[in-house]
Amino acid sequence: MTPRRARVLGLVTIAVLAVLPWVLARHQLSILVDLLIFGLFAMSLDLIMGYTGMVSFGHAAYFGLGAYGSALLLIHFQPPVPVALLAGALLAGAVAVPVGWFSTRATGIYFAMLTLAFAQLLYTVAYKWRDLTGGSDGIAGVPKTTLFWGGPSLADPHAFYWLVAACLVVSLRACRALTRSPFGRALEAIRENERRFVSLGRDARPFKVVVFVIAALFAGLAGALFAPFRGFASPEVMFWVLSGQALMMVITGGIGTLVGPVIGAMVFLLIQEVLSSYTEHWMIFTGAIFVLMVIFLPGGLVGTARRWMEARG
């Protein structure tokens, strides 16, 4: 795709996002907000997976930290939502520093399992620290406060949608810029051939740790949006099942494309949403769709679409 075409496509997408609230029914807008939040989450995972080749199996932990951070802040102090977003993201990023530092000692499956181990540790903390987190019951009744002190309320579905859409678009642009910076190119060099990178006299690990932390920040942001939107945070948002689902979303959309995982998350959730209202045995059909998708759509939805467009010129 030419840069011009990409830019046009980007502008069209923003225009569509802007128009959608007036087109969609209320419940459709609710679902769209959900899709965008998980899209942001999947995109953050792609930053690690797609641009360094490291597969994290514990990414839900940072989503969860963001959710708990913002939920606790909103419920106890009712600050404007953006303050809670910042706090959630920073909490996730801060915890990711030591985890990233330890986990990047290993590679491949071992890296995945180390991130899983840390995520389960954090899950257990959320589960057992009942005084703070409410344990397995979680924290319910998280309010959607205002945009800034004395500013407009975000309880209106449209208002919250704008906030989420803006967060996604800005994050996407920021991540894109990051991957095109010298830092991003260094990451790709590590992914393609770590030995050569190291033999040039540079240390790969700081790069890996930094990208791990940045990905956690964005995952935390997604979680911090989730808590006021759904009104609660519970240990399930940190569980390995969600980490696994995030992997599925990234692969469904297309690894290393940033925008692919956003689409992947939407497709993944929509498939479940639609199928599960038709049949309680939706897992069979979801499973079959995954199997077929992996076999027939290598590179995920976006990867396949790109190849198709290139073939057609």
Partner: protein, 283 residues
Amino acid sequence: MSFLVEQLLNALALAGLLFLVSAGLSLVFGILRVVNFAHGVFYMLGAYLGFTAMAVSGQFWLSLLVVPPVVGVIGGLLERSTLRFIYRRPPIYQLLLTFGLALILEETVRVLYGPTAKPVDAPALLQGAVPILDTLYPRYRLFLVVAVGVGVRLFLARTRAGLVIRAVAQNSEMADCLGANVPRVRTLVFGAACALAGLGGVASAPMTTAYLGMGIGVIVDAFVVVVIGGLGSIGGSMAGSLIVGAAQTWGAFYLPETAMVIMYAVMGAILIFRPWGLFGEEE
């Protein structure tokens, strides 16, 4: 004293079951380079088919003999019809595919058997408890410890298949060198691993009943076992099973507040010091 013996036996029984599952997982990774997320579901399938076999024949020993090959054949067929098309892709794709398979199988079992757990009785010979020193210990668990221990020992040390598996698992390139018919070797290995998981499932059913979700539960444990031991190493799986079995049993007893997380803590600690597992090699 008798108490320590009991705790030791508990850990060994759990380790035995874990080994049956994780050995197959490790084998499939070692030879096919596939992280098989559906592996646990074959364990569950074993337990449910064991229930059916028991209901039909009333013979525990018969179902122990018949069910694993059936599970193996199902596994082999699934490998032929799906996995074989994507061996060249990065491992993450195989994970997604096997995740899809796991969903399909899990829900199919529920459609067929319903949501209620299915009881499976141990054979009359192994019911009840025997006195060990001054405590009572279930005969069935004792049987598990002895049977798995002896079985593994015999299989690995004496049979040719054991030799081949050991060789192949230690060196994945061997699979390619086997030359003539790599696709067939893959199907056989995958099927054999599934059969092993199925065996674990039949064997565990009298201890835990056959229930939905047992596959997901065990696959996470088995991943941890395999990673602790080192991917592709059968010896590692054995060591990993013992470590996880001991951690879960003794952890629950001496450090009950850590029961939820002790397995992960042990794995994390081992990986921080040995990033490729106890018996694994740097990739």
